[in-house]
């Protein structure tokens, strides 16, 4: 089932010389987990901002084309309306704290209060997502006193509490230490269990290989590749465009290991399976 349809999307920021996105068209099915990769200025963040309607409603600039979330056209809806269908979490955990609430518990209520969710429902949702994001221990703390990983999980929980169908994460771990990164990816795996459609921009290719069923590769505002994860990571021209591949894909490439679809494996388990098939169970 189609969840997101993007038709001929182009966008140029105010004062910018070049288009940040240039004639992008793609479809995302319900339940897909899309990993978005690409070098600097590829248009990854611009795409994220477009999906939640910040473009064109928050940023003034030249917007062309359309984005449909189910039947909702982002151009004709307010950011608040779109935010109930598409959630956004971005890099800086600190700036995602509302700044108006004194406890983690109250912070989770911020979006719900704004959207007029009834009190009982609000409490039920807060309790659920505190639990899901493992924030129960810090629920009475000041949000600004959390660790980076906790803050980012709070940001994810705050958005989840709004119950969007689509979850967009724009490099959610780029400002976190390894422990925080691990915490956030654990949280991301919960999103998948909740059966949400996820768009995740990340440089952590190994993690994308684990989670994403498709990869969108952007470069200079255009789509280089949009295909199954293994297919994209098996391409030979990745390095040429300044991108690497997941570590297991690189190893498989060195070893010349390919599966029956003529693709390199992307996960440890696949390599193991293939090696076992080739050499028998007694290796390693």
């Amino acid at each position: 089932m189609k969840k997101i349809t993007i038709n001929n999307l182009s966008y140029k920021y105010l004062l910018a010389e070049n288009k940040a996105l240039n004639n992008i068209s793609l479809e995302v099915a319900k339940g897909d987990f899309i990993g978005v990769i690409g070098p600097n200025k590829a248009g990854k963040s611009t795409l994220c901002k477009s999906l939640v309607g910040l473009i064109p409603h928050f940023y003034k600039g030249e917007f062309e084309g359309e984005i449909l979330i189910d039947k909702l056209n982002t151009l004709n809806s307010s950011i608040a309306e779109i935010s109930l269908k598409v959630g956004l979490v971005f890099q800086d955990p600190f700036n995602q704290i509302s700044g108006a609430k004194l406890t983690v518990y109250d912070e989770l209520a911020f979006g719900l209060e704004n959207n007029g969710v009834e009190r009982e429902e609000m409490i039920a949702r807060i309790d659920k997502y505190l639990d899901l994001m493992d924030l129960n221990k810090v629920k009475d703390n000041n949000p600004f006193e959390l660790s980076g990983g906790q803050m980012q999980r709070l940001a994810i929980a705050s958005i989840m509490a709004l119950k969007p169908d689509v979850f967009v994460l724009d490099e959610p771990t780029s400002q976190l230490d390894p422990q925080g990164t691990e915490e956030v990816f654990k949280a991301v795996s919960r999103l998948r269990e909740e059966n949400l459609t996820v768009i995740l921009v990340s440089q952590k290719l190994n993690k994308l290989a684990d989670y994403a069923n498709k990869i969108l590769f952007l470069n200079q505002g255009e789509i280089v590749a949009y295909d199954d994860t293994a297919a994209v990571f098996s391409r030979n021209d990745l390095e040429q465009m300044g991108m690497g591949a997941p570590i297991y894909t690189e190893i498989a490439r060195e070893l010349g290991l390919k599966n029956d679809k003529d693709q390199y494996p992307i996960r440890k388990s696949e390599i193991k399976e293939m090696l076992v098939a080739k050499y028998g169970k007694n290796i390693g």
Binding site: L15, P56, H57, F58, Y59, K60, S78, G99
Partner: protein, 197 residues
Amino acid sequence: MRNDQKKSLWSFNFSTMALVLIPVSIGINYVGKLFAQTLRLPLWLDSIGTILAGILAGPWVGAISGGINNVIYGLTISPVSFAYGITSVAIGITAGVMARMGFVKNMKRAVIMGVVIAVVSTIVSTPINIIFWGGQTGNIWGDALFGILRSANWPVWLASGLDELAVDLPDKIATTIIAYIIYKGLPKRITVLFEES
């Protein structure tokens, strides 16, 4: 930023960027005052944020920054601050209007803007000083001047006005220059986002 609600005179309709700017500008006021105290400067420097808010997002946002600044000060630090809320509002409006008239183009104009802000601040503060303190400002040098002028039988409003101006003129000029320097240092991609829709 697009706003689909209809705009009426009394509605509270500002861009989110402008709204988020207000608490930050009040924080800047506070930090300015803090650094001025720590460095033992003979100035208040406690309205840098209000003036910046006016410059960046226009007179109304400047006015709200000034007003809320004093309400919050009044509620949490010193209740007298409520009374001078009107002065802060006037400072924010003046900064916003003058910035729109092109007074943040260069340093020379910024200094003129500082003088105008000082005069406006004095005009608004003086009646409050008279109602509240009988005309004094609480500043030693200003009040000494007030005492001398009163002993020479100058009218209260004039003595009090000069008392206030003696304090305000150096302070507001310095404050405006600092706000101007910060404004010029901000990246353009940020400043365009503040401009009112």
